[in-house]
Subunit: 301 residues, 2 copies
């Protein structure tokens, strides 16, 4: 996928939410394309985050006042707003500040679900442009302290068009993703959420429920944690991820996730039945198919 | 836990099954305690494995004939038999060769479940000794080619007494585990299987069913594998493990595993209900508890 870039002068960037994703984006663009994206403005709720973002020169200016930042002179000439908060906050911001976005600006986001966000973008005023986006990366730890400029390098970055996406806005956000080091691909919002319900939200729901089951068992059995197997560590790892981010993901993709969980339960029930019937051949077939798929179809990082 | 070792002269070792676990044990003991464990005899079904075990000097002698190896002169003076095959083969061998084990020998194993194995050991002739054991390590790949002498270093190695365990036999197997580099702890066989059903067998069952669900979804959705998230990779990793080993684990601990799966399903149902009801507070509580447990109670390797 090649993209021929129209030379532009510098663009102002307003990053809303200076957690891992937002701060890492600022760092990535500053390190590689500091002249293109300038100034970089940051909006964060916590005074501590604002202080760190300025002290570490992650952004040029920072504030807790999103409306004021959107009025910044540099944003009045086709700036880019990147919304990096958890999904529900993001949707609220899109509604609350719909008339504060400067005309001609391009809004994008980093939300992990796309349906509700792109629906909110669809209804933005015609004076602004909006492209849904989801860079697929992260860490088990959150916050500005773990941000790093290399976070997006070679990671998939999904773009979803909205009714407020035109060719120039799409190209601008795609270029932003490339400039951060990511590899873009386009997926429609509803389809994105269906795919991610399998490849991301389901594994997370399993890790959570596994962890809950083990913790309950540990109340009556002191050996549960001391003899934890490596398989448990791997399978439960994602349960340690950022709580607020995941509350919003599960709520904003609820119906699709619960449908996917039901598909999973059907398969787990089948496996359980094979074990109960002591069906060695059936069990071998079930296990072999899963092992083959894991070995041959899941790309290693 | 300190163990004062009685000085002994060299002991013959007969390793039954020269896969990852058995061959790694031979390599570990040869590297660190070659004079103590000598000769090391190996039994394997495949001529190719026998050839490799000899060519790489992993064992001193190798054969596909277990009964003949048990008649080896070196084994007639209190040798150690370590059974390293999958669980069901192991139980069959314990029954089939019960009268072939040389008097005074000490039998132990590396089976991943302990109930059926220790029950089979309980009924061995009074002329032999037996201690159940389970070194908790492994790899996603199997076979002699991936064996390595460092496999057991600092890994937990569980010991389970049987009716054929006396103090000397227990001490001998404990020393063998220490000599391989492992850290031993004693857990009764039934309790072992209950603990492992939570900390190992459940995560495996989830990884299998997750992988099955994703593979089914991929039949109608081409994007499932291309946009695989890191969470999926972690959570499904153990599904790639050795098929034969796991068929036997699931069958030999069937009732306990299916009970543990039911506990898990109760928790997954609760999580699903919270999502369906869009209960943000309930969801936050469920997720926070699991995240805290994962962060604070699961030891990293």
């Amino acid at each position: 996928m090649r993209y021929h870039r129209t030379p532009v002068k510098n663009k102002a960037l307003c990053i809303v939410g200076l957690g891992l994703m937002g701060a890492s984006l600022a760092m990535a663009l500053r390190e590689r394309h500091g002249a293109t994206y300038s100034p970089i403005l940051g909006v964060a709720r916590s005074p501590d985050t604002i202080r760190k973002a300025l002290a570490r020169n992650i952004v040029d200016e920072a504030s807790s006042d999103l409306a004021a930042m959107l009025k910044h002179p540099a944003m009045q000439d086709g700036g880019i707003v990147v919304m990096c908060t958890p999904v529900r906050t993001l949707v609220e911001h899109l509604q609350q500040y719909r008339h504060d976005f400067p005309p001609g600006c391009i809004i994008t986001d980093m939300g992990s679900t796309k349906g509700e966000i792109c629906a909110a973008m669809d209804t933005l005023p015609e004076s602004v442009f909006a492209v849904g986006s989801h860079p697929m990366c992260g860490k088990e730890t959150a916050g500005i302290d773990v941000a790093e400029g290399n976070l997006y390098i070679n990671r998939p970055w999904i773009l979803s068009r909205t009714r407020r996406t035109d060719a120039a806005a799409y190209a601008t956000v795609q270029q932003l993703a490339h400039d951060a080091g990511a590899v873009t691909l386009e997926i429609e919002a509803t389809r994105h959420d269906a795919v991610l319900s399998v490849s991301s939200h389901l594994p997370y729901a399993l890790a959570l429920s596994l962890m809950t089951t083990a913790d309950q068992a540990s109340l009556n059995e002191s050996m549960i944690y001391p003899v934890m197997a490596g398989g448990f560590r791997d399978t439960s790892r994602v349960a340690a991820s950022d709580v607020s981010m995941w509350v919003d993901i599960l709520l904003s993709n609820g119906r699709t996730i619960t449908n996917t969980i039901r598909d999973f339960q059907f398969n787990l029930d089948q496996l359980t039945a094979l074990i109960e019937r002591q069906d060695a051949d059936g069990l071998r077939a079930f296990i072999s198919a899963a092992a083959d798929a894991r070995r041959n179809k899941v790309k290693v990082k």
